[in-house]
Symmetry: C2
Subunit: 248 residues, 2 copies
DNA sequence: CGCCCGGTTGACTATGGTCAATACGTGTGG
DNA sequence: CCACACGTATTGACCATAGTCAACCGGGCG
């Protein structure tokens, strides 16, 4: 694993993800215990946080940035399995090795907890376990929504679904109440999109062009996307993107 | 929902899934509480247990039989999301409606817990929550393995993976120690296999024939499959079926 | 300046989907 | 008992979608 940079500590009470991360339900005392076993790590965009099979001596919350979860076949095929945004959790209690490749997409700061004491706290403090259960159930839902997309959607529908999901995350307001005009910043290269959707990058590029030619989206530079009418985009998804859907 | 048949109660202590289900870690006192809120339901093969969007007043453990979890698009496309075998859990605490279609594949008996009191117990008894967390993490792993299969595998690899996974479940012994000759009972029709793998039933049928012609499997009737050498089957999976893999 | 990276586009191919005919096994009714 | 229908599976012919291989574009940076 590449050498990460270390940050100064930050008090949990001032943490930007305090109310959404695995520690969301912890009281002050529990927070104090977490302070004792936590440390920060920062990874630059592109750096690998862990390869599948690597020993992971910590579990962690993403504090800042974007990371991705994926798996690589022996022959080089890649499938991304999840996008990790601030407050998302990395690692599995009870497992010593990472089951997946974890890579920083943008610069990432992790709040890491040493695994052993974290597992002990998990047993002793129901608040922590409760929140982790909630988050895991959410991730399970997200994984199953992705199974739907991967198994049964056409290339065009996959692209539209991905854009709709990102739009939904960036504009958290409920859907019908939203101004249909939306602009969003793609955190992903075409290749990353293809890894996510089970396509080739050429197909992704072609379908992006097709959506542009059909007026569903406009491109501003490579990464900035304008969606003039989100409802028209949704209409291209094949129709199961639910209002409260979110990656992970 | 179709009218289910009711069974006589069974004591938890004699329950066949006692040591693997959500109640696995409960002590005698907790088991007593569960006895008070549980009831059995039986569904015949083919019956629907819940449609996506239906209110679900209970959560449940599968005691006997096989059920499947899936989702249907407006235009009729179907994707199966999980196979539910004895000890698997149905429903999500905190959610009133089923997010998925749940259907009995073979005759199924459920041990149902009324949702509200179950949620209360979940908060008060760490043993229950602990086990549910473990099970949910396992399901998440399984869902991600399926994402890999759906996103990046060829039809032949998908079929081989499905067979390998079923073989692994039916013969729980660790792999290298097992006699490579194995015979297994498919609980799925060709159509169900296609729903699972994101293929058409014709492609499933063709690839089954191809595997047969290549001597990887032998068919005995429609549902009984002989695998003369499990290692050769594994070699056809595209190579990520891990030794401790299990559906759900 | 020229290289590299990410992206786009084109020509061709291959994998798997569609539509259709046929086979097989089982349960029902004449 | 046989005829028939129905559900499940197999196979073939053809086609469409997405993959492969390759050329080319444009911006940023050494």
């Amino acid at each position: 694993m590449a050498a990460p940079m270390f940050n100064l500590d930050v008090k949990c009470s001032q943490c930007p993800i305090r109310h959404r991360a695995v520690c969301a339900k912890c009281d002050d005392e529990e927070l104090g215990e977490l302070e004792d076993i936590k440390f920060y790590r920062t990874y630059e965009a592109g750096q690998t946080i862990a390869w599948a099979g690597d020993e992971l001596t910590f579990v962690a919350s993403v504090v800042r940035g974007v990371a991705k979860l994926g798996k690589t076949f022996e022959d080089g095929r890649i499938q991304m399995l999840g996008l990790l945004l601030p407050s998302d959790f990395i690692g599995r209690p009870g497992r010593e090795e990472s089951a997946y490749d974890v890579t920083a997409v943008k610069d990432v700061t992790l709040c890491c907890f040493r695994r052993k004491p974290f597992e002990t706290m998990l047993r002793d403090s129901p608040h922590l376990a409760e929140r982790l259960l909630e988050m895991t159930l959410d991730e399970l839902d997200a994984a199953r929504e992705w199974m739907l997309i991967l198994g049964r959607k056409t290339a065009r529908e996959k692209i539209a679904s991905l854009l709709a999901i990102i739009a939904r995350r960036e504009h958290a307001a409920p859907f019908s109440a939203t101004d249909p005009y939306i602009t969003l910043e793609l955190p992903l290269t075409r290749e990353a999109m293809s890894d996510y959707l089970g396509l080739t990058l050429e197909t992704v590029s072609r379908q992006m062009s097709a959506l542009r030619q059909d007026g569903i989206i406009q491109l501003e530079g490579k990464r900035r996307i304008i969606v003039p009418d989100l409802n028209r985009l949704i209409a291209q998804t094949g129709g199961d993107i639910s209002a409260d859907f979110a990656i992970q």
